[in-house]
């Protein structure tokens, strides 16, 4: 297993895209913290401000850092097929289970480290601007930040699974961005039309929307006139997203073992 880990670490660190994707993710995430700090420097720091600054504006939609790290997840297997390197890879490491476990371990641990570094840098920005970070380890901010880390890992896991499932990069990129940004938003929007109210029970099971609830600061309020979606709690919704990620990964892994390289 150590050999496979060494291989995968070398694979990841000898790609230029790894560095610019992580760099871009950190830059954008820190940029949001700096922007919030500059704009609100004269106000007392609130939980909302802390939340936005520490997760780099992740709560507004698709987290920037998650996007960039998910691309690294997609590249982990998608590149192998896109550039035909799966053949030398499997003649170097023919045990397919070991290869996938090593890829998962390296990609997920890299994501974890990058996410924690991003949060630490952003915390530094908060301390620089306000000189304090109240409620950092308390509910709801502390719980939300843990949820943010879990969300990052699950989102990258979905990207990894899609890259392996589609055996390429473009299809995986389309699905991982199209689903949360267009399809799920459209389903939620359509469910507000009375004639399409049969969509209401579906909304609580939309995986990416459920995943995003992991990092929420408070339960979503859709305003008056919207249906009662009977949404799951933070961790139950996270469970739906985790199940979605697990299904994609399990399908991709099973096919990877059955398919010709």
């Amino acid at each position: 297993m150590l050999d496979a880990l060494r291989f995968e670490w070398k694979r990841l660190t000898t790609l230029r895209s790894t560095y610019w994707l992580i760099g871009m993710g950190l830059l954008v995430s820190t940029g949001v913290a700096v922007l919030v700090g500059v704009a609100a420097r004269n106000e007392p720091v609130s939980t909302d401000i802390m939340w936005i600054a520490l997760n780099g504006g992740a709560g507004f939609g698709l987290p920037f850092l998650a996007v960039f790290m998910a691309i690294i997840g997609i590249f982990a297997c998608g590149h192998e097929y896109r550039h035909g390197t799966i053949q030398p890879t499997l003649t170097s490491l023919p045990q397919r289970n070991r290869l996938i476990i090593a890829k998962l371990a390296v990609v997920l641990s890299t994501t974890l480290v990058v996410t924690l570094v991003s949060m630490a840098v952003n915390l530094g920005v908060v301390y620089t601007v306000w000189g304090e970070a109240p409620g950092l380890f308390e509910d709801p901010l502390g719980t939300s930040l843990i949820g943010y880390v879990v969300y990052m890992l699950l989102y990258v896991l979905v990207g990894f699974g899609l890259g392996l499932l589609f055996r390429g990069v473009p299809s995986a990129l389309v699905v991982i961005f199209l689903m949360p940004l267009i399809i799920e938003n459209m389903i939620a929007g359509l469910s507000t039309i009375p004639q399409l109210d049969w969509l209401v029970p579906v909304v609580k099971f939309l995986p990416f929307s459920d995943g995003a609830r992991l990092l929420e600061l408070s339960a979503p309020d859709f305003g008056p006139g919207t249906p009662d979606y009977d949404l799951f709690s933070r961790w139950a919704a996270g469970g739906v997203f985790a199940l979605f990620a697990a299904l994609i990964l399990a399908s991709a892994w099973t096919l990877f073992k059955k398919r010709d390289a």
Binding site: D3, R6, T14, Q87, T91, S92, L93, P94, R259
Partner: protein, 310 residues
Amino acid sequence: MISAKGLYKRYRKTVAVDHLSFDVRPGVVTGFLGPNGSGKSTTMRLMLGLDHGEGETLFDGQRFGTIRRPMNEVGALLEAKPFHPTRSARNHLRMLAAGNRIADSRVDEVMEFVGLGDVKRKKPKGYSLGMAQRLGLAQALLGDPRTLLLDEPTNGLDPHGIHWMRDVLKTLASEGRTIFVSSHLLSEMQLMADELVVIGRGTMIFNGDVDTFVREFTQSQVVVRGPDTASLAEALKAEGAEVIPEADALVVSGLEIGKVGHLAFTSGVELHELSTRRASLEEAFMSATGASEQFVAQTPVAAAGGNPDA
């Protein structure tokens, strides 16, 4: 030693490899021949577990998938340019070496050996096909393996490169390694290979040494040259031989050289040459695989109104 048993692969309705069994001995270069689409690459991929099918291949008694650090046992070159475009050639090999506990110094060594030492830090997307093949060979040799599987390694190489590749493979074989190499360059294979595995439409046509293959699939001919061979030609035909006049000589099929010489002697014909013309590997290959060619091109015809002698 490679021992392949019952290799079988089916793509929907097409049987690509049909219960192939053969052994590849160490110490010699074994050529793997077959027309386009005959299943050579699929066979090699089956042997390495890249494709799923039936049968088993053992490399010195071990299945490829069970070898802990396979690059140290079996080196493979299957596909031209399987490299990430933005990773340098050296880093590509370092990555593979990392999975097999091979030192970086060995990476530099094989890059120098294949002649890519000066461009090892460049990205392979800028490499020519010949350079990519050399990098592929460097990859196969990385773990100094006892067995090499090479699919069309001379593709894209210039004449010097082909000559170099032949010398490398023959030298490696002489060190007691097992070399299994496919190629379309039959003239090259005739110079390089000691033994052959010949397949057509996924089935075995021949497995043995090159001389036996040529003998088995071609008719040897006797060349007779002399100042007046007309009477000899008649005598040969009377013995049932096929005689083809060729410039100032006769080319005789269907009779052994001794019998032809005896007839010339008993007919009182003066001879300036009596020799056997050995068929080439290419002729034997065409004869052996003609019926199993999958993609048959049309014979070119002269354009209407064109000069047929042009």
